[in-house]
């Protein structure tokens, strides 16, 4: 076992993919000699050569488009967005081309987009966005969003080997805030499986990304008050683990959904809709959501902490839900 941060884990998965699979190439803005804005790819250009890890002009459309071109010609490109926010410059490539290519032509598009997202560090409105709901709306795209180093490593490796376009969401706040002991070898995982990261029967929190840790904190506090709350880390958002969610609803009869992104048409709405449709008869209380409000991510720490869901807000909602 080795101890790794979330960021180490991402780096480790990339390095393993580069080592194991000659068809893997990495590119993006400043990821070459500089190692990327977050230093995830530091040293790769030296280790693997400039044709497998290289810098690009500031051209998100060219990044996505060329990755589609490569992925359909035998490579497995992994492109890094400097921030997920800049992906909005070129969503037409993901929605219309990457996501439809196999359906239209029968030719798969094994590309991975790494999208650092989330706030909590003073990034302001254009460096903190959570865009999973937009990616998840696109047919033909898979979306994963790990919360732990082990999952980050396994899921990124799986994403790279997946025959489909995968958006790999990585939470910037977690980069250096979570550590975990992980086995030396990367484990093959199935994209699409949720995980119960804390058992409990009073209620379940369905969540992912940085909010898994906030939910865990809330659950720990509530345990002190005698409430045992289940926390489910979805890990994969598209496909998401419908059966595990329904089973959790059945086991707890109370569902709280938590995410860091905006409320209206957020991914939590999809989860609530699933529960309302498939677990309706299992519920003892309304499905509740703790999310960011429909507000641009504010910069000032006072505003951002009011904006961002956290353990306190989750705890409050859980109490309300349990006592409904």
């Amino acid at each position: 076992m080795v101890e790794m941060t979330y960021l180490d884990a991402i780096r480790d998965a990339l390095r393993a993919a580069l080592r194991d699979h000659p068809e893997v190439v990495l590119y993006g803005e400043d990821i070459g000699r500089f190692g990327g804005a977050f230093k995830v790819t530091l040293g790769f250009q030296e280790e693997f050569g400039a044709d497998r890890c290289f810098d690009t002009p500031i051209s998100e459309s060219a990044l996505f488009g060329s990755a589609i071109g490569m992925a359909t010609q035998g490579l497995r490109p992994v492109v890094e967005l400097q921030f997920a926010d800049f992906g909005t410059n070129a969503l037409h490539h993901l929605l219309n081309n990457a996501g439809t290519h196999h359906y239209r032509t029968g030719v798969p598009v094994p590309m991975t987009v790494r999208a650092p997202c989330g706030g909590g560090f003073g990034g302001g409105p254009f460096h903190s966005e959570e865009l999973e709901a937009i990616f998840c709306h696109m047919p033909g795209i898979k979306v994963v969003y790990p919360a732990f180093p082990s999952d980050a490593r396994n899921l990124l490796y799986a994403a790279i080997l997946d025959p489909n376009p995968v958006v790999f969401l990585e939470n910037k706040y977690l980069y250096r805030h979570v550590k975990e002991l992980v086995p030396r070898a990367i484990e093959p995982v199935r994209i699409g499986a949720a995980r119960i990261v804390r058992p409990g029967q009073e209620a379940v929190v369905l969540t992912y990304g940085a909010m898994v840790h906030e939910a865990m904190r809330a659950a720990t506090r509530l345990a002190g008050q005698g409430y045992e709350v289940m926390v489910m880390d979805l890990r994969s958002l598209k496909p998401y683990d419908e059966d595990a969610i329904v089973a959790a609803a059945a086991a707890t009869n109370r569902v709280l959904i938590v995410h860091e992104g905006w409320r209206t048409c957020g991914f939590g709405a999809e989860l609530a809709a699933l529960v309302a449709e498939r677990a309706f008869h299992l519920l003892d209380a309304p499905v509740m959501r703790v999310t960011a409000p429909d507000v641009p991510v504010p910069y000032a720490p006072e505003l951002e902490s009011a904006y961002r869901p956290n353990a306190e807000k989750i705890e409050k909602a859980l109490v309300e839900l349990i006592e409904y």
């Binding site: 459309s61 060219a62 992925a71 037409h92 081309n97 439809t100 898979k142 025959p163």
Partner: protein, 342 residues
Amino acid sequence: MPRRDSGRLDEMDVLFPQTSVTDVPPPEWARLYRTMVLSRKIEERLIRLYHQAKIFGGVYTGVGQEAIGAAATSASQQEDLFAPLIRNMTIHIGRGETTLNIFRQWLARASGPTRGRDGNVHYGNLKNGVYTMISHLGAMLPVIVGGVMAKRRRGFDTIGFGTIGDGGTSTGDFHEAVNFAAVYDVPVIFLIENNHFAYSTPREFQYKCARLADKAVGYGIEGYGVDGNDAVEMLLFFRKLAADLRARPRAVLVECDTLRMRGHGEHDDSSYVPKELLARYAARDPIKVARERLTNEGMLAAAQLDAIEAACAAEVDAAYREALREPPPDPATLAQGVYADG
């Protein structure tokens, strides 16, 4: 707004030694001619089908622009890549797509290249090195850049041809793709088919430079202007250019002067296109120009060209009828293949 006529740039002659039609053997000229004629005949049939309301949705053709794709594909090699757009029937034909498959596509048959999932001009065949376009103009250009990078990394001596209209040059994707290819010396020929109009919009509302080939300077690459209605001249040019790109890989821009001879689609009467302009280009119809040059310059006899035309006509009739008899997609397959693994 006055606009200098596009013409061949001086550098072209400097870069490449003069070639003549005799450098290319007659069978290749026959293939070039067939590509154009077959495409024209297919599209004429499609136009008729549209007006008979036998096609679901619109019909968009490359009538009058056949020379460009015909010349480019004739100059290409097996492992090269193409990213055609809506006016590029000759790219599909020139890269070996069957007439039958083309009617299957337009008639949305289950057997067609997109199995009825995509329509009309949106098809390709990566086995022939031809990408399937999406509608978003410009978006196929970074795709072909990436495709060429990948194939070259895998050891092929691939070059790419990406087409774009005068209108499409205004998109951000055009810019990002050309710049990206220029920086990494990716051998892609960005083929600008300047047919004077983008849908109804005349080119003075699209760009202000004298010639679109002038954009090359700003990317630090070479830019050429060619007569897009002269397939013979273009074939000679593309052969030289392609050989040169294989020897010294790099991106280049080629602007082909031509005119869209029909509406944007068949729903459009294109009454906004001046009659004199149409007449001028009608007189230089690419099939006519090729026919004249090939016979006058002694490459092919008129009878040989007539035989090609007759064969094409028969092929279109047969293929169309066969496609008509084939079944449409089964609605039960609707959700199949969205993902590669499910």
